[in-house]
Symmetry: D2
């Protein structure tokens, strides 16, 4: 008994997303892909933007949809893209985030030390490729940037990739910060391939500027919102503390997959070498994390239980943001006051009083440039066109310092 492998998925952002190829269908059905349903796209941003509950699965489907639109547009303008390349490019973007662990970027390097999600994505793709008898070969080459038609990789990963286009759009949509909405349809209509590279037509300059500004706004207003920074730091502190306790033999409620990572420090080499690591990793998602934290809120270690309870009940630390580094004096005074009040001393205080930095750059002029193709054949970086809004001064990374401390 066969069943149709053609499918239409409702998506609130784009309307309908079409699955029109059996290989793509099979990938979406795969448990590794289905796991992305249980990993939120925006981690704890929902504590500030309660609508933002969307998942890595819906983001990757969205990016896949945009890839299809972009490829069709480029083909209409004469770029050669074979059917096989078309499918492979769409698979590459579908799987680009497959290696994300629970709470996406926030817990990266905390539960699983020293391995970035891009590397895990690559490992998982390899594993799926084995199962699928090499059907993902081309997708993997495009993902890695190891394929002559460079624009295919640029659509997957560059400063103008469909990944960014989808997440900006989607995150705007779900947070309700409408100002982050970008004219993705217009940007795609302006794309063109030249010398196998992705370019933007001259008349798309203002749309690109707007896209870059929307991204800037989303960073400072949403992704690096001070309350979000604070909550995500609390989550990290919780796992540092919990792992510390676990490594000292303390018993902690945890699912088997989570327990595996709590009981040992990992690194990239072991992770790649021992398949058990990847197998356990692929069992992990946000549900392991939050259900554990809820139980730990009653743990006898007061540092752990306090942080957990506060996070669950949204009683977050206070946070100050500044363009300048905070004075050591101020921290010291806070520590003394907290110590006096709570009885905590030494490193225990570091879980409640700490500083950090948030950095973002509006546009990076030295990497993966967005190139404008003028009618006269000239090519210029978006930061170098006449009357550029996105000029060099905007490409300097902006760094902000933050300082978290308990409500007295």
């Amino acid at each position: 008994m066969t069943e149709s492998k053609r499918k239409i998925i409702n998506d609130p952002v784009y309307g309908f997303i079409t699955i029109d190829h059996p290989l793509i269908y099979d990938i979406i059905q795969h448990p590794y892909y289905q796991r992305l349903r249980r990993i939120s796209q925006m981690a704890l941003a929902c504590l500030v933007y309660p609508g933002a509950m969307h998942t890595r699965l819906s983001h990757s489907l969205g990016a896949y949809h945009l890839m299809g639109l972009a490829l069709r547009e480029l083909q209409n303008k004469g770029a050669e893209v074979t059917e096989e390349e078309n499918v492979a490019a769409r698979i590459a973007i579908l799987l680009h985030d497959i290696g994300h662990g629970p709470y996406s970027h926030t817990l990266e390097n905390t539960i699983v030390e020293d391995v970035i999600h891009e590397d895990i994505s690559a490992l998982i793709m390899e594993k799926m490729n084995e199962e699928m008898d090499g059907d993902l070969d081309l997708a993997i080459r495009i993902f890695r940037g190891d394929y002559p038609k460079k624009f295919l990789h640029q659509l997957v990963s560059s400063q103008l990739d469909v990944d960014r286009m989808d997440y900006l759009n989607r995150d705007s949509f779900y947070t309700g910060v409408h100002e982050g909405v970008i004219g993705y349809d217009r940007i795609i209509k302006m794309m063109i391939v030249y010398n196998d590279e992705l370019m933007v037509e001259e008349k798309g300059i203002h749309s690109i500027e707007k896209f870059i500004i929307a991204r800037r706004l989303m960073y400072w207003q949403v992704y690096l919102h001070k309350t979000v920074l604070c909550a995500e730091n609390m989550l990290i502190k919780i796992f540092i503390r919990a792992k510390e306790l676990a490594l000292h033999g303390e018993k902690l409620f945890a699912s088997p997959a989570l327990a595996f990572f709590m009981q040992q420090k990992t690194n990239g080499i072991i992770f790649a070498a021992d398949p058990e690591y990847l197998a356990h990793f692929c069992q992990l998602d946000d549900f392991d994390i939050l259900s554990a934290i809820k139980v730990w809120a009653n743990h006898r270690d007061s540092v752990l239980s306090t942080l957990c309870r506060w996070l669950i009940e949204r009683r977050l630390l206070k946070i100050k943001l500044s363009n300048n580094r905070f004075e050591t004096m101020e921290l010291e005074e806070m520590r003394e006051a907290l110590s006096k009040k709570s009885g905590l001393t030494g490193t225990a205080l570091d879980y409640f009083i700490f500083t950090g930095t948030a950095v973002n750059r509006t546009y990076n002029v030295t990497d993966d440039n967005i190139n404008i193709l003028f009618k006269n054949g000239e090519i210029k970086d978006i930061a170098s066109v006449d009357n550029a809004l996105i000029n060099k001064s905007v490409s300097i990374p902006i760094k902000k310092f933050y300082f978290c401390y308990p409500r007295v």
Copy 2:
């Protein structure tokens, strides 16, 4: 140190929601209310509509927002609503779903037997009222329909309440089924109070018709979508099996709160009488459930582990829908075939092969009618106006039969 209790929350559906009263602020900060962040509004509908990840918290905030708009409109039209009543009505709607357990309606009566969420809502409100020295007295009276200004209760609960208005709108928004969108702003503009009852002005008739049709569509296309029905039945079967095993002394991974309910059968009387029940209930949310299911997918009981694995990996049972009851013959044949193939016998087969019914009525003419107030002072039920679209034939409940069975 005091902090402002005024707050603006971004909401993707309405833009901004304003918290402008200290009592409302305190309720939202309460751990019981914060728990609603971890209870999805649409349970497993996200398996069909991947965008639909929104929570009970965002729904109740939305309904609260609509209540504010509705009260302002009614006041502009001369209805007397004191400041105290205004706050109380908004609190009543904010808390109307506070008693929902994990996966909302799906697991109602499964984890906690024999208690409906409305009763639990009432218990929780009472508990919060105690903590808050009676500040919720009026809100509770309105919630219960025990207050002379009947329209306040009707806004909380009737066929034209702000609860429905928000969930239709919100669920449409997040599923991407735009056809469920209702003209909530126009409906609110058409509301009027007459003899302390909520009515709709004559020129709002078509908007009300549209609202009722939108609801009908959402039921058949979304809430009772056959794949959603199937997934939700699987979830119920999982808990029936798990509880059965637990009551027979089988060890099951579970958070303490979940374990509490797995180890005993409850009923409404015990629940109301013994505060420990409510205390544990208020610890439960979707995370306890799904993290347990993930672990149970490796349980030695093959009925439990199979169902759990299938649900996690979205390998759902097949389902047929029909206007007529299924023949016993067909079921029997299926059972035999499955028995032969799997070795399962007797009641174990009931977990994989079963039937059920889905019922919805477009409009109920006998309860909580939507009344139209004509310019000449006449009052008519929406189903009785001239040329009514929502006529009596539409008010008959539609019943569909479904039949679930494994993919061979």
Copy 3:
């Protein structure tokens, strides 16, 4: 020097509309088509819905866009549509309203008596076809329903044509009556061709119901809104009076094209026979009409000038709507009162005091049915499916009586 005949047009409803064929490009460039820029889609509805200023040109472009989407979908599902048929069907819909005169339906049969716009459309298409050496042959056959693949004509004209889909959507959009928005994308996804006829898949039933209800709502809330009815009747009365005066030799300010039709009565036979009629007709648009009315507001005939001034200044007659015919008595009393006050007598009173009827039927079961194709191969009219919302009672035309009279 050639120029590209590929073009992208921004459309607020659909985003981008693509002109991708030289013949289509040439049609759009034609002065007959460009005239549609100066004919409003909704005539005087803008007096109630000030946002509704869109034109026949934007509507026909929108319908053309939907035709493209529908054809692509049907082709994906296996319907055979040649490239030539595809272009012809899109041209047929592009030109379906080319014969509309000023203020669309309102002045039909008033300025140009006894000729309906469909016939004029046919005449204009023939004329363009001559100019274009027969390139429109196939489009004209499809438009006329004179082509074997019946579904092509059904997409142009039936109860589920892209004409309706666009105007409902577009008129909702521009009036701000969001309740008229239909799920055009979903409806198109549900279309299928069976035996060369257009059908809808089973799972599209609720979307079709919603579409029919949205149309019903738009009729009663917008197109037949009582103030709109009133204004449109005033416009008609103005032209009846003006033509009467002109035929009696009274001098009236008018553009040459308008003057041509003011000085003689037409009929369908002359119109078709004498090319001068069509030539003048193709010069007429809303601008001839309104600029004349503005000047007539100072005409010495007080009936004409009063009606013109009132319309320009939006001092509309009053209007009553009723399900029953108005009593002759009431009219007579009004006439006497007005006569006493204004000195007007006899037929002059008929311009200010008059009755009429507005009729609409939600769905016509006897013509151009919308057929549902069930999975089991069965075909049923949407009004005959189980639990049909659009049942026979809904297919009876609803008739409302109105009565216009001056503000005292």
Copy 4:
């Protein structure tokens, strides 16, 4: 018999706009205000963006709506605004464009020489004020910036006024250039009054940046779109030619109001002194203009008739845009070629071959600054905040040169 002076108007951009004051109701009913229905907001931009048919009336209603929202927000934050001031500020914005003539900015100074629309607005307001026994006194003071509470005038006219907010939003909406959409609701939520001046809270910085960038984009992509520039120049040339002909005694079809201005040159002094000028002006709108042009398309003066026919049929001149002034050589060659081909000589050629400049500045640092009020009490211009995107380099006006010439 009185009638209610409360009214709700559907607006596609904001949903519902409420008229809640008798004076405001009367102003909207006034023929001077109703004239704005017949003046398009975006003049000939509809030749490029066919959806953009909206009128000055809908824009001014929209700005009035935003004024209401802004005043309510400022009052909630403690700014003192009396009921009288509230009404007056809303009237001031309602009437801010009352002096616009046909085709708004395009024909300013062409039909009526040497008078800007702001001055005409002031004259009309004075005239209405007389009729209304001084009820508009306060509104006029606010409009003129002659009232101590400076923020009221700033809301009417400054770089952050509700005029801009509405037109950016509305023009984006109707053109379909979604990238021009601004977060008007968020910007309003961030407004605050300090020392009687309008400021923006610190956390609104990014929204303001986005607003300024959206405006920049709308200028270059829409208002100064090269095809729009071209069409608007053709319209101006038509009127220069027509007036020239009329002043030489040539007979031209025109409505009486238009004829009045065709037969004489005006200036600001006569206009203000002789009430007949204003009276005729208030009769003029887009319909006088376009209906005349249609007739002139057959005028015996070939310069006039050619330009008119081309404009009506959208056969526009070609246009080149450049950052640099065009060479005289290039123009001369064009003139010679056209002269040879058409037989036109001397100044007649200037109607078909001409140059001009388009200028826009993203933000003006020297006038009407947008000030940010920081939490620590500091005030900074948006162009001076840390890491400003809107820095001084962006405030330099950008000038582009264009060159129009006939096809072949």
